[in-house]
């Protein structure tokens, strides 16, 4: 059920666009055909236009509306970006877009003794339908939703009445920040924890889960592949063997920058999962900000390789190195 689906593209009409939290728009699409309702945890791929170039982005399906014929998405506008999210925010009612059928990489397993759903920020989009499905089945669940402040939290108006006491809001501004150890401890034995949120949150939960000796397969998560420990900055990447050097702007991935300067790069998932875009790190002046979920913590610490579709490098100062100055980072790598 969760094998990788072959994508089938179809047209869809934009039915509604409205702001549901700060920088978050709820976008309703009506596909020209829909073989089956979108299962909880699924996403669609959508053709977008970025810098005049056709590209593809993935967005979780928040739920179905209309008579089950419409797909609801939630899209946060990424700051400093004129990328896919800007395109999505510019959609207007009546416009046509190209999308795939709902694709499933993050299925909900039914029949477990207990569930905890943990959403961070815009990660809520992957969780809304799961919460609904668990409630409908009468499952034993808790729904934790964290963010920095309340005005950033989309879909509260439907989540609060729907989940009542099962909903546990954690808002940094209000002093009720998410406690990762407590979160993990709250998952009953044999139960599952579903997580979608920014990388720091996911990393913290993954380590807490491992420390607690929990079964890895019971932690279910989906990655952003887009947020790291540090704000992205421009850095220089060199491939000495090929005599290539290029600057990676703050809003371009290392993979894209390398391709643009003529390196023949291998990749597939482009979200830090598959391990195909791995490059060998020869030398780094700065600090590596690993953003993938392919390498282990030990491999991250070793720092001799990185997944260039998502991971970046920051200056020694940004990375907190003693005596580090603010010179932009430089990384030397080798590629297959």
């Amino acid at each position: 059920m969760a094998a990788t689906s072959a994508k089938r593209w179809r047209r869809a009409r934009v039915i509604d666009v409205r702001e549901v939290a700060q920088h978050v728009r709820r976008i309703v699409l009506e596909p020209e055909r829909l073989e089956a309702p979108a299962p909880p945890g699924s996403h669609i791929d959508i053709g977008v236009y970025v810098n005049g170039r056709a590209d593809v982005r993935s967005y979780s399906v928040v739920g179905m509306s209309g008579y089950g014929t419409e797909l609801v998405l939630g899209v946060q506008l990424a700051r400093q970006s004129r990328g896919g999210s800007a395109y999505m925010h510019n959609l207007r009612r009546g416009q046509e877009v190209s999308i795939t059928q709902p694709l499933q990489n993050f299925p909900l397993n039914y029949g477990k003794p207990g569930y905890v759903l943990a959403a961070g920020g815009i990660g809520i989009t992957a969780m809304v339908a799961m919460g609904k499905a668990l409630k409908a089945r009468g499952a034993d669940y808790r729904f934790v939703y964290g963010a920095r402040s309340r005005d950033l939290m989309a879909f509260l108006d439907e989540l609060v009445p729907e989940h009542g006491d099962c909903l546990d809001l954690r808002v940094d501004d209000e002093g009720s920040s998410l406690d990762v150890a407590e979160l993990v401890a709250g998952v009953p034995v044999g139960g599952e924890l579903y997580v979608c949120g920014p990388t720091p949150m996911l990393d913290a939960i993954r380590s807490a889960w491992a420390r607690a000796g929990r079964r890895p397969a019971d932690l279910r998560f989906e990655t952003f592949g887009s947020s790291g420990r540090f704000a992205p900055e421009a850095f220089t990447v060199r491939i000495p063997r090929l005599g290539l050097e290029t600057l990676v702007p703050h809003d371009v991935s290392m993979l894209e920058a390398l391709e643009a300067c003529g390196a023949d790069m291998m990749f597939d998932c482009r979200r830090g999962e598959c391990g195909l875009c791995e490059v060998k790190v020869l030398d780094v002046d700065g600090v590596i900000d690993h953003r993938d979920v392919f390498l282990s913590d030990d491999q991250h610490r070793a720092g001799d390789r990185l997944q260039c579709c998502v991971s970046r490098v920051v200056s020694a100062r940004t990375g907190g190195l003693a005596g580090g100055d603010g010179r932009p980072a430089v990384v030397s790598i080798d590629v297959p």
Binding site: S5, G52, D55, G83, S98, G120, G197
Partner: protein, 424 residues
Amino acid sequence: MTGSTSPASIGRPTGHAGFRSFPLNAWYAAAWDHEVGRNLLPKTIANRPVVLYRTTGGRPVALADACWHRLAPLSMGKLRGEDEIMCGYHGICYDPDGRATFMPAQETINPSATVHSFPVVERHRYVWIWPGDPALADPALVPDLYWNEHPDWAGDGKTIRVNCSYQLIVDNLMDLTHEQFVHGSSIGHDALSESEFTVTHTDRTVAVTKWMLGIEPPPFWKRNLQDRFPDYDEPVDRWQIIHYTAPSTIAIDVGVAKAGTGAPEGDRSQGVTGTVINTMTPETDNTCHYLWAFARDWCLDKQVITTRLREGVSNVFFEDEQMLEAQQRGIEANPDYDFYNLNIDAGSMWTRRIVQRMIDAELGSDVGAVSDEAGHAAAAMTEVTGAANAELPGDGGTGQAAEVAGGVARHREQPTAGLMGRGL
């Protein structure tokens, strides 16, 4: 998931389960040398029916296996004279160039009576044919498989007709992780999936290198090493170095040496080396001919070892064959699903990319042409967004247009700091 990039790479459809195309402008091994003689050998090569035979002068010939007259297979006819073939239906005869030399019931030869004669080269014990444009058939492009007939090597091999796309065999040979699981009883070893490998590539080749140092040899290699060093029962250094030449030839340099005797540095005097020679020829989109051989550099005078290795490798390949045919059925039974490509698939992903570029070049299409799916999306989006962007108020529209010049997609989403991140 929000705002992350598509799992499918735009313009790189090659990692897909449905990828099963092949270039035509390439040499493919049609048969072993000894299979082509004064007999008519029908084969389908790259979806083309071909009949192979040898002239009395010893030259191999490959003609289209369909008579110009009414498409009866020439392979049902017979050889005539020194180098001709006669159709078994109405008797038209053709020479090695495919030109008619005899027509029944008329005194002339119809000037358009010809069948296609494929370029043929016999080299390294295989008869190679070129299904594509004959003008491009350069014999220098035949993959170098010298081990098959070199005095420093001894070996033999077989042909297997496999019910799977040739690409699945390429994938299989480029990925030796599977040995641990598919060939556990012979050449498999836990160290295989645990040890690191490196991948390099050029325009037409890919190499994957894996060394396993100081390991217990698996049974197959223990026996081989003992051919040379009968008393040796200690750990070994083992290597697997895969050399791919596009589109479908793979020579794997394999072997073991007494551990710590310098094999990784190039001194293999305390070891045994084999070359697994593999060349796959697409028969149809979903089937192929797999010609393989195993050549060794030790005990060259022992025919019994040649036979033992040929039969041993044959058994190992039977395990692959079963898995690959089942995988092909799996692909066909799941048309709605696709591969998820992993780091261990890197070697195969490079071969697929190189093959795709060869196909693109043949079709005259842009190497960077987008895949069906992204193409569909892109085409649709061009109309749709062209219109939409035109309506956008100043900023958004000009901003996007202005960045086109940069030529780099800028779509990393906003970073975070702290558990919840900055933007959240």
